[in-house]
């Protein structure tokens, strides 16, 4: 029956059901490609500019609280145990500050970085669109391009902001703008300022303490196995579940497409059987004369429907694959 069904399908292809199934399969494939790519890019951006492969916080530290009371006092000692597995470790101090401008006060997010060590973990240097990257402990800042535009700042201009130190005393920081960033990360470009670590530590009274250490591993997949005493080590795979919505969204869309696909198949199959009974009545009568049994008829129709679905899936995969390969998405 399979060979008869195959011959029937090849010589009398049912283009409409095949194409319907193919379109849904191709759409599902492309949506999956698109969302996976988006997810991968977002995660990569997070790893490259903010998180690294593993983020280390002090024990009981709340990253959303921006507190300076709970610090890692000796970054080198913390990463010592995993030193051989590292490409680099970047200590950072992340704090909130208030920037005064002509248009009023503006809250900003300040990242205090050790430019040389940060370079081993993050890719900020590549994203300096105008000006140059930070070097040493000069009193200079890197500024998100959008933030600079909003403040009307350009390279060489002065920038001042106020931040509360560890001892509760406010400190006024003054820097000159050395570079403007264009990372593609909305939050960094619109509200982040990067300053030299030593300057921030000194101004905020942190000594050598940092609020976080980001590490880049030689093998990113080993992130899950990094475990350090007395600190929180969060692998990139578990970065606050902030991309869970994307995965959930992708799953929801794919489930919806699967339901549509099943409906197309179901309606197609019912339609196929109905039409076959009308349009192929003479052919079926002939099959009956030839001694075809009821179960043979069922098998013949089932094979024809199965092969039609298979053809639709293969065509859909082909279309989806071609669109993906040629980057038409």
């Amino acid at each position: 029956m399979l060979s008869f069904a195959f011959r029937n399908l090849v010589r009398r292809p049912r283009l409409f059901p095949i194409l319907s199934i193919a379109v849904v399969v191709a759409a599902a494939l492309l949506v999956n490609f698109f969302l996976r790519d988006l997810e991968r890019r977002l995660i990569q951006s997070e790893i490259d500019f903010r998180f690294g492969h593993v983020k280390i916080y002090p024990q009981d530290y709340d990253p959303a609280g921006f507190s300076l009371s709970n610090l890692i006092l000796s970054p080198e000692a913390v990463v010592h145990e995993v030193q051989k597995r590292l490409i680099g470790a970047a200590p950072r101090v992340r704090f909130q500050a208030m920037l005064s401008s002509a248009s009023g006060d503006l809250p900003i997010l300040v990242y205090a970085i050790d430019s040389e060590r940060d370079d081993l973990v993050f890719k900020l240097r590549e994203k300096v669109a105008v000006g140059r990257y930070l070097a040493g402990s000069e009193e200079a800042v890197l500024l998100g391009g959008e933030l600079a535009a909003a403040l009307g700042l350009s390279i060489g201009d002065e920038l001042s902001f106020l931040a509360q130190g560890r001892n509760g005393v406010f400190h006024q920081f003054s820097f000159w703008v050395k570079g403007l960033l264009k990372t593609g990360d909305r939050e960094l470009d619109a509200s982040a300022v990067f300053v030299p670590l030593s300057v921030a530590q000194s101004g905020l009274g942190l000594n050598r303490g940092v609020t976080e250490i980001s590490i880049r591993l030689k093998n990113p997949r080993e992130a899950l196995s990094v475990s350090l005493p007395s600190v929180q080590a969060i692998p990139w795979q578990k970065m606050n579940g902030q991309f869970n919505w994307l995965s959930a969204g992708r799953r929801a869309i794919l489930t919806a497409l699967a339901v549509i696909w099943l409906l197309v198949v179901l309606v197609g199959a019912v339609n196929y059987i109905h039409l076959a009974r009308i349009l192929r009545a003479e052919e079926f009568a002939y099959w009956r004369q030839l001694g075809l049994k009821r179960r043979d008829f069922v098998r013949l129709i089932a094979w024809e429907i199965g092969l039609t679905i298979l053809a639709g899936i293969l065509l859909g995969l082909l279309i989806g694959g071609i669109v993906k390969c040629f980057g038409w998405l």
Binding site: R7, L290, R294
Partner: protein
């Protein structure tokens, strides 16, 4: 006796199509079942061809009572023993002549591909259909199509070929040619034919004419010798036994 009908009656929605029909056909006969449209010819052929079951009476094929067999077994009887040829026979439109004629052998799983094709080739040559072997049914002339249907009926060497108005869609000359071809095959291969037609002109090519009017066959006595039939309760086509074998 190849075919034996004993007091067979068949009704549709309470209206009798054939009534108390008795008929005996010997192997090698070529019988014309003559009657006007609506006389019950097609119903009778469907009964003998195991496409329908009688309401009353018994039908014997090769001394076996087939009138009460299950649908699966009737299909098996059709597959092995009956060849059909009708004016409406379109066969499988997407298959070529060669494939259509080979199909009954494939369903019977007779021989390997090469052997089957060789057998089909020989038969097509006998019927002058070699040149159209690769064509699909839709590309044939009505006579070629009718001959292809005849070839498909003949290929499995059935006990009987039931031809229902085989010339109805043919021009007179083509119809005569088809009947002559059937008569030649009957002479040469002793194939049994039962040809239903409302055209008495064909009777000179056939060995016997049976007339049917209003579902009743005239002048055919209730066949004697029914007691010679084998045990009616044991069907010849026992699928289970066949599968076990």
């Amino acid at each position: 006796m190849l075919v034996l009908l004993d007091n067979v009656t068949k009704s549709y929605a309470g209206i009798p199509a054939v009534k108390n029909v008795n008929l005996a056909i010997e192997a090698g006969e070529m019988v014309l079942l003559y009657g006007p449209s609506g006389a019950g010819k097609t119903t009778l052929l469907k009964l003998i061809g195991c496409l329908e079951k009688p309401d009353e009476g018994k039908i014997y094929l090769e001394s076996q009572n087939v009138s009460r067999l299950r649908a699966e077994l009737l299909a098996e009887v059709r597959r092995r023993e009956i060849g059909f040829l009708t004016a409406e026979t379109e066969m499988i439109p997407v298959f070529t002549v060669q494939e259509n004629v080979e199909l009954p052998l494939q369903l019977l799983k007779q021989g390997k591909g090469g052997e089957r094709r060789e057998r089909v080739k020989q038969l097509l040559a006998e019927l002058d259909l070699e040149k159209v072997a690769g064509k699909r049914i839709g590309a044939l002339t009505p006579l070629e199509r009718a001959k292809t249907a005849l070839a498909a009926a003949l290929i499995k060497s059935p006990s009987i070929i039931l031809a229902d108005e085989p010339t109805a869609r043919l021009a007179l000359a083509s119809g005569l040619e088809l009947i002559r071809t059937m008569a030649e095959i009957n002479q040469k291969k002793k194939t049994t034919f039962l040809v239903a037609s409302d055209d008495p002109a064909f009777s000179r090519y056939l060995t016997r004419t049976v007339k049917i009017y209003g579902g009743v066959i005239e002048g055919e006595p209730r066949p004697a010798g029914l007691t010679l039939a084998r045990n009616e309760e044991v069907p010849i086509y026992d699928l289970k036994a066949e599968q076990n074998a």
